[in-house]
């Protein structure tokens, strides 16, 4: 009998067949999961985006690129850049949200990392805790807090920040507050894990080498937080692009963002093909930004990030 070729795996010698069967057992479920619940739905959605909506709201043949053209602004009624404006506005909201999150998260991460390990864990729970509450429930809670009769709104009214009998919501302020509330943990977590890993004796080393405390912070600590900060920004800015619950509820459905537009196509408008097309364009935009970033930092930088 011919001896099968043996391969070393995890300290054992296995035949190629054994190796393959082990791979199937360990990696198989994951691959099936991703194929079934990620790749397949995406392909279906991609297919929809090239279909046409009939009068009843069903997606039917023929295949067409009209949906994409319509998004770019050319419609039967002439040119209207409405959707592009919505995209622009969405990007702005996403960036502003991210900016505020960074401004809050940066000192917060250092504040937490400066504590004893035990206290750190407790403080981190406080950061994460709000995200255990369902998003819609949390958003309704903000609505209650910001309605005209709540103490907070009345305090704001006495300070002249809102008119009498007006609520703090719907407003841009409420939208941003809600968004920051949602995304703050996503930026604090990676940032904190970067800050926590820093060897603090470097701060002493920097001062020993004639740096002032500020110089030591900016030249030694900040660069080491950048991978965590970037991860946080990506984790915030990208989901913020697709957010629709918060702007819809706290913005009073007055200001459309791209997420709301997509929800509307799949809901009230019953225009699946157009909704699918917007979805793919937003996704393409996101991937484009990530790709540009990846090109800048190289493969290693991306791996650090993930």
């Amino acid at each position: 009998m011919k001896k099968p070729k043996l391969e070393a795996a995890g300290g054992e010698l296995l035949t190629p067949m054994q190796l393959l069967s082990r791979a199937a057992v360990t990696a198989g479920p994951g691959i099936v999961w991703i194929a079934l619940f990620l790749i397949l739905p995406m392909l279906i959605l991609l297919g929809y985006s090239f279909l046409t909506r009939d009068e009843l709201g069903n997606a039917v043949f023929p295949l067409t690129v009209d949906n994409y053209v319509r998004f770019a602004g050319w419609d039967v009624l002439g040119y209207d850049a409405a959707y592009l404006i919505i995209v622009g506005r969405t990007i702005l909201v996403s960036l502003v949200t991210t900016l505020f999150c960074v401004l809050i998260a940066y000192p917060l991460a250092f504040f937490i990392a400066a504590h004893e390990p035990k206290t750190r864990d407790r403080l981190m729970i406080f950061v994460i805790l709000p995200s255990w509450v369902n998003l819609v429930i949390r958003t309704y809670a903000w609505m209650i807090m910001f309605n005209p009769s709540s103490p907070i709104t009345q305090l704001a009214a006495t300070l002249g920040m809102v008119g009498p009998n007006e609520g703090l919501y719907p407003s841009d302020f409420a939208v941003y507050l809600g968004m920051i509330n949602v995304f703050l943990p996503f930026i604090v977590l990676p940032l904190y894990s970067a800050v926590e890993r820093i060897d603090w004796s470097q701060l002493e080393a920097a001062q020993d080498l004639y740096a002032t405390k500020t110089q030591a912070f900016i030249q030694v600590l900040v660069p080491q937080t950048l991978p965590g900060l970037t991860a946080g920004i990506i984790l915030t800015a990208i989901p913020a692009l697709g957010m629709f619950v918060v702007p819809d509820l706290l913005g009073g459905a007055k200001v459309a963002l791209i997420g709301n537009s997509i929800a509307q196509q799949f809901g009230a408008s019953r225009d699946y093909p157009f909704g699918a097309a917007i979805s793919f364009l937003v996704m393409g935009l996101t991937l484009l930004v990530l790709w540009l970033y990846a090109r800048r930092v190289g493969e290693k930088g991306m791996r650090d990030l993930l």
């Binding site: 004796s201 470097q202 080393a205 001062q207 080498l209 004639y210």
Partner: protein, 379 residues
């Protein structure tokens, strides 16, 4: 000028004092870690602070560097009180125990950091960085990151990063403790060469007595916040001042004795002659003798200071042999022999021998006359 290590010790040091600690006291909460340290360190000397962990040696170093503040007392650096100066304005540089290299910078950027902070012009900076890297023989690694280096190489970077600034005093906080033995010995030699060549004052903190003995001109043995003994290495090894130093610096046999005349003492092993200065007759003293000063022989000798012993333990160590031998009274002596092949040195357990304790090497210890348990320092 490349000094040979042997010649190094013979160089004449200037008399000027570089660092002067005046009655330094420091407590962390209720724990007094420094209980009035007075110490002068001369310019250009290789000075070691030796002691077990928790003895306060690192705290003393950190006070000099500016990372801790003394509760009372004064630190003078070349005559100037450093108390009002933050760490970045003191012309001392530190080599940290864990190196504390900046992971996001290359080796060259790490070394250039101090110069950049002091706004050294770019052209000079490049030359200085290159020569510092070459001095510690890591010029080839200038563009690597610390994570891509071995422990020994990181140590060299940390060293280059400090000496490139040409400080008045270089502080080294157990810089070799993370390295393996072979590498440590090599780096010891290099550090000594470097120190002699630069003529810098080195203050070297260590818990390793061998390291301190090998490298220093002078040293201070610290314990529980006080200096137990201060002096040249040879003097301290040959004539330890007290039981702690005798035990911490190498090993020692300690013997309780009562003075019977100006030249003799009575111990449980019998009467011994002692060359050292003895106190008045009738007083108790504690004697110390190093294991390697005792000689063993099979033949009974007519010399004084000889006791009959029985070997209880023999440990073959290659170049040396370590024996334990019990006297009739049950006292156990530690004896080291050289495996030279010239003298008898191959003894076995239970063999009956004669141990000779030369009068010249029985050192009278100060501070205590009775043995007490010294805990946790026999490392």
């Amino acid at each position: 000028m490349d000094l040979n290590i042997g010649e190094r010790r013979k160089r004449v040091l200037e008399d000027s004092v570089d660092v002067h600690f005046k009655d330094i006291r420091k407590a962390f909460g209720d724990v007094e870690v420094l209980k009035g340290i007075n110490l002068e360190i001369r310019r250009g000397e290789f000075f070691s602070l030796l002691g077990p962990s928790g003895c306060g040696k690192t705290t003393l170093l950190r006070i000099l560097a500016g990372f801790e503040f003394a509760d009372s007392g004064e630190v003078l650096l070349r005559g100037q009180d450093v108390a009002p100066l933050p760490p970045n304005q003191r012309s001392v540089n530190t080599v940290f125990q864990n190196y504390a290299l900046f992971p996001h910078m290359t080796v060259a950027e790490n070394v250039a950091f101090g110069l950049k902070m002091r706004k050294v012009p770019a052209t000079q900076l490049k030359d200085k960085v290159r020569s510092a890297l070459e001095m510690v023989e890591i010029g080839a690694f200038a563009d690597r990151r610390p994570a891509q280096l071995s422990g020994g190489q990181r140590q060299r970077v940390a060293l280059a990063r400090a000496i490139v600034n040409e400080p008045q005093v270089l502080l080294l906080d157990e810089p070799l403790s993370a390295l393996d033995r072979k590498l440590r010995v090599n780096l010891q030699v290099e550090l000594m060469r470097l120190q002699a060549r630069l003529g810098l004052t080195f203050i070297f903190v260590t818990h390793d007595q061998e390291e301190a003995l090998t490298m220093s001109d002078r040293m201070a043995v610290m314990n529980k916040g006080v200096i137990e003994q201060l002096g040249g290495v040879q003097e301290m090894y040959e004539r330890p001042a007290n039981a702690f130093v005798a035990k911490f610096l190498g090993s020692s046999n300690l013997l309780e004795a009562t003075v019977t005349s100006s030249r003799t003492v009575k111990t449980e092993l019998g009467v011994f002659e002692v060359s050292d200065q003895l106190p008045n007759v009738g007083q108790d003293v504690l004697l110390s003798i190093r294991p390697e000063k005792i000689s063993l022989s099979r033949a009974q000798s007519s010399l004084a200071n000889t006791v009959a012993v029985k070997v209880t333990d023999d440990i073959y160590q290659g170049a040396t042999g370590a024996y334990r031998a019990k006297t009739n009274s049950g006292f156990e002596l530690e004896i080291n022999t050289m495996n030279s092949g010239v003298t008898d040195s191959n003894f076995s357990i239970d063999e009956e021998l004669f141990a000779y304790l030369p009068a010249d090497f029985l050192v009278v210890l100060q501070g205590q006359s009775k043995l007490e348990k010294i805990g946790g320092d026999e490392s």
